[in-house]
């Protein structure tokens, strides 16, 4: 169930291939098989996978393998570049130029429309505007109440009319906003199954009345192959202006993002990472690309790091992480920084190569283990921390004694450390030096 990530798979595919020079058709064929699998396992639509792998094939065959890369990494680089390009350039801005500006949210049941409406209201309010939430889901039991609760949590008024049609509510809301100085309307609509023509027609009518500047299709990142059909039918009827992807706080690879972008041709504007009302972020194509490939995201981890530590320290950390003289002292520092950054599972998700630990590892136990590791390192001398190689049997006994653990625990830590170091070195040799503290991907410049 926990898939190997594509990078590892390709490494394995290419283990016997030490040769340099150009990628041959056969190399590429072999690699593309794995790429195809990885994309399908990430829920990228199979048609999109087909055209995508074709594109990669054309580009990859005959391409020179860069000096610093293995053939596997070269292929991943191409795949990653193409994926990022496919998911679009920089994220577009919200169009709030009108008064009132109207933002309408549509999507399937449970996709996250109501929650997202609250999040949008919060961020728009923080921009100094005066948004009004409008409750047009009159079908789901307690939907209006839900929006009211969300509204009160973010301090934004909710407009609703008991027992009225959505179009009537919308018209009244429009009038109400004019009279009361609201300058952005956020319309929450009823969730639906796209085969439902009646409800779809209702949305079309709503759109006609409101002429929204933004009409977002809200999509669940866990959606499978069907995502494109749903998005496509919403787009055909409503000509959406963009997509908001929700529930990215889980471990879904989110291939739906790529599929929708490719088939519908509308940009993904926001990504939602939780139920809390401040978890809406602009969409980053490059991060999504690494996620779909299951390769972690050093970019995000560094941003998080920056919130906790200053930039210089972050740069130092990255430098250390990826160079040879990474020692137990750094390891200890790194653990302290990590504690500041947040819960382990979120971090693991973002560290390349660590992804597969997640889900296997019991993270509560992991946190406990971290405490033990801390205790062990605390019982070492500075010299031992800087040169773990000198730690012999008698030193181990002393350290174990001092930290109240068994000698095996000390051994385990040392082994783990040397493995981590190996892993980091593997990434480090290839990662983007010279880019200061921002490394986009483990393998590429």
């Amino acid at each position: 169930m926990i898939f190997e990530n594509l990078a590892e798979k390709l490494q394995n595919t290419f283990t016997n291939l030490k040769r340099r020079g150009k990628l041959t058709e056969k190399d590429v064929e072999l690699a593309l098989k794995e790429v195809r699998l990885a994309l399908l396992e990430a829920d990228v639509n199979y048609k999109v996978v087909k055209t995508f792998t074709e594109k990669v094939r054309t580009r990859a065959v005959g391409e020179e393998v860069l000096k610093s890369l293995t053939p596997a990494q070269q292929v991943i680089k191409i795949v990653y570049d193409e994926l990022t390009a496919l998911m679009g350039g920089s994220t577009a801005q919200l169009d709030l130029s009108h008064s009132p500006s109207v933002i309408m949210l549509v999507g399937l049941q449970g996709a996250g429309k109501t929650t997202t409406a609250g999040k949008l209201a919060k961020s728009i309010k923080e921009k100094g505007r005066k948004p009004l939430l409008v409750a047009c889901d009159i079908y789901r039991p307690a939907a209006i109440k839900q929006l009211q609760v969300v509204g009160s949590q973010v301090g934004v008024e909710v407009f609703s009319l008991e027992g009225q049609k959505p179009t009537t509510i919308a018209q009244a809301a429009y009038k109400y906003s004019n009279q009361n100085g609201f300058d952005v309307l956020i319309i929450d609509t009823a969730g639906r199954l796209h085969i439902d023509d009646e409800l779809m027609q209702e949305l079309v009518d709503l759109k006609k009345i409101l002429s929204p500047q933004e009409l977002f299709f809200v999509a669940d990142a866990m959606t499978g192959q069907d995502a494109v059909n749903v998005a496509d039918s919403f787009n055909q009827r409503l000509d959406i202006t963009g997509v908001i992807l929700t529930k990215l706080d889980g471990d879904a690879r989110g291939g739906a993002a790529l599929s929708i972008r490719e088939v519908v041709g509308k940009p993904i504007k926001y990504a939602s990472f939780g139920e809390k009302l401040d978890s809406l972020e602009p969409f980053h194509p490059d991060r999504m690309a690494s996620r779909i490939l299951g390769m972690g995201d050093l970019g995000t981890i560094l941003e998080k790091a920056q919130q906790a530590i200053d930039e210089k320290e972050a740069a130092k950390l990255v430098q250390k992480l990826t160079t040879d003289d990474f020692n137990l002292e750094d390891f200890y520092d790194q653990m302290q920084q990590m504690k500041k950054m947040g819960p382990l599972n979120q971090l693991l998700e973002m560290v390349p190569g660590m992804n597969k630990l997640k889900g296997q590892a019991d993270l509560g136990a992991a946190e406990k283990e971290m405490q033990q590791i801390e205790a062990i390192i605390n019982s070492m001398t500075q010299k031992e921390r800087r040169q773990p190689d000198i730690i012999d049997a008698s030193r181990k006994r002393r350290i174990a004694c001092g930290s109240g653990v068994k000698v095996q625990d000390v051994n385990k830590l040392l082994k783990q450390f040397s493995e981590t170091k190996k892993l980091m070195k593997q990434f480090g040799g290839l990662s983007g030096k010279g880019k200061g503290n921002r490394i986009r991907m483990p393998f590429f410049k």
Partner: protein, 302 residues
């Protein structure tokens, strides 16, 4: 309308797209690698998953070779057979031997837990059972209100606390109420949570423990609600929820809204977790028992 018709109706979309595709691929063709590749694509597009798809196709190839089948038309029966095989025998949601029968309902956000509970309550109510519902989703805004509306519709009793209170305490009170009021069935709603959130999964374990401590062998059923639009992540979900709460059955919802239903095959194959109920619409009567044979037959009926 009989059960079968309903199922056929509900699965109309799936049948139309998946089966028509399969049939058009197979009709009048001779067996070739391209044909198998096309079949593979169709199965994958139904969210059956790469693993299960490969297995089905491999078995199909083997059997075609063994049974000396050369025309595409004959492949349909075999394909049907292979898909049914992966789904296994029918497994129903059966009343517990002792009362109260406690059913706990879990799943990620937005899959339709509360709606499923509403439909279940209505069904049991019609059978003359005394039903209590516990509003264990104390997190999402207005979740308890939503369940309350369903409780009224089905004349079930509702146990609820304030928003933000401890769901285990709700479960405890509900269990006491079920015992004191001699209810037949207690259904416990829980807040949607992503399976990756360890602390929230711990909370579920706690709810389960509270129930087991108060009533022997309870909860007799733990149902994981999965949305049929879910892709491969559904497998991760099922795996983690099963480990945490001893899920013993799946409810597959929104099967009418999507053109695919293949995820059930992957779930059964990878986790041997049976689908027990399916949701094929938004009405109270749209919660159906899941029968693998009917399911496959409905998929292939013309």
């Amino acid at each position: 309308m009989g059960f079968f018709d309903k199922l056929v109706n509900g699965l109309n979309k799936t049948r139309n797209q998946l089966v028509k595709q399969i049939q058009s691929v197979l009709k009048g063709k001779s067996l070739s690698p391209e044909l198998f590749e096309e079949l593979e694509e169709i199965l994958i597009s139904a969210d059956i998953g790469v693993g299960s798809t490969m297995e089905i196709i491999e078995n199909l190839k083997l059997r075609c070779a063994k049974e000396k089948i050369t025309s595409g038309d004959e492949v349909e029966e075999i394909l049907k057979d292979e898909m049914a095989k992966l789904l296994g025998e029918k497994e129903q949601l059966k009343p517990a031997p002792t009362t109260p029968w406690v059913i706990m309902v879990v799943g990620v956000n937005g899959v339709g837990k509360t709606t499923t509970i509403g439909k279940l309550a209505a069904k049991f109510g019609e059978e003359g059972k005394k039903v209590i519902l516990a509003a264990g989703d104390t997190f999402r805004a207005a979740a308890a209100e939503q369940l309350e509306i369903w409780a009224k519709r089905s004349k079930a009793q509702l146990i609820r606390h304030e928003e933000g209170s401890d769901p285990a305490a709700v479960a405890y009170d509900a269990v006491q109420a079920a015992k004191n009021r001699k209810a037949d069935i207690l259904i416990i709603d829980t807040a949607g949570r992503l399976h990756t959130k360890t602390n929230l999964m711990e909370e579920l374990k706690k709810i389960r423990r509270v129930i087991s401590r108060e009533i022997e062998n309870a909860p007799q059923d733990v149902l994981l609600v999965l949305d049929a639009t879910t892709g491969q992540n559904g497998l991760n979900q099922a795996k983690v929820f099963k480990e945490a709460t001893e899920v013993n059955g799946i409810v597959l919802t929104k099967l009418d809204g999507t053109s695919k239903g293949g995820i059930v095959i992957a779930i059964k194959k990878e986790l041997s977790l049976p689908v027990k109920l399916i949701g094929v619409g938004e009405g109270i009567e749209d919660l159906q028992e899941f029968d693998p044979k009917d399911f496959v037959n409905a998929l292939f009926s013309k």
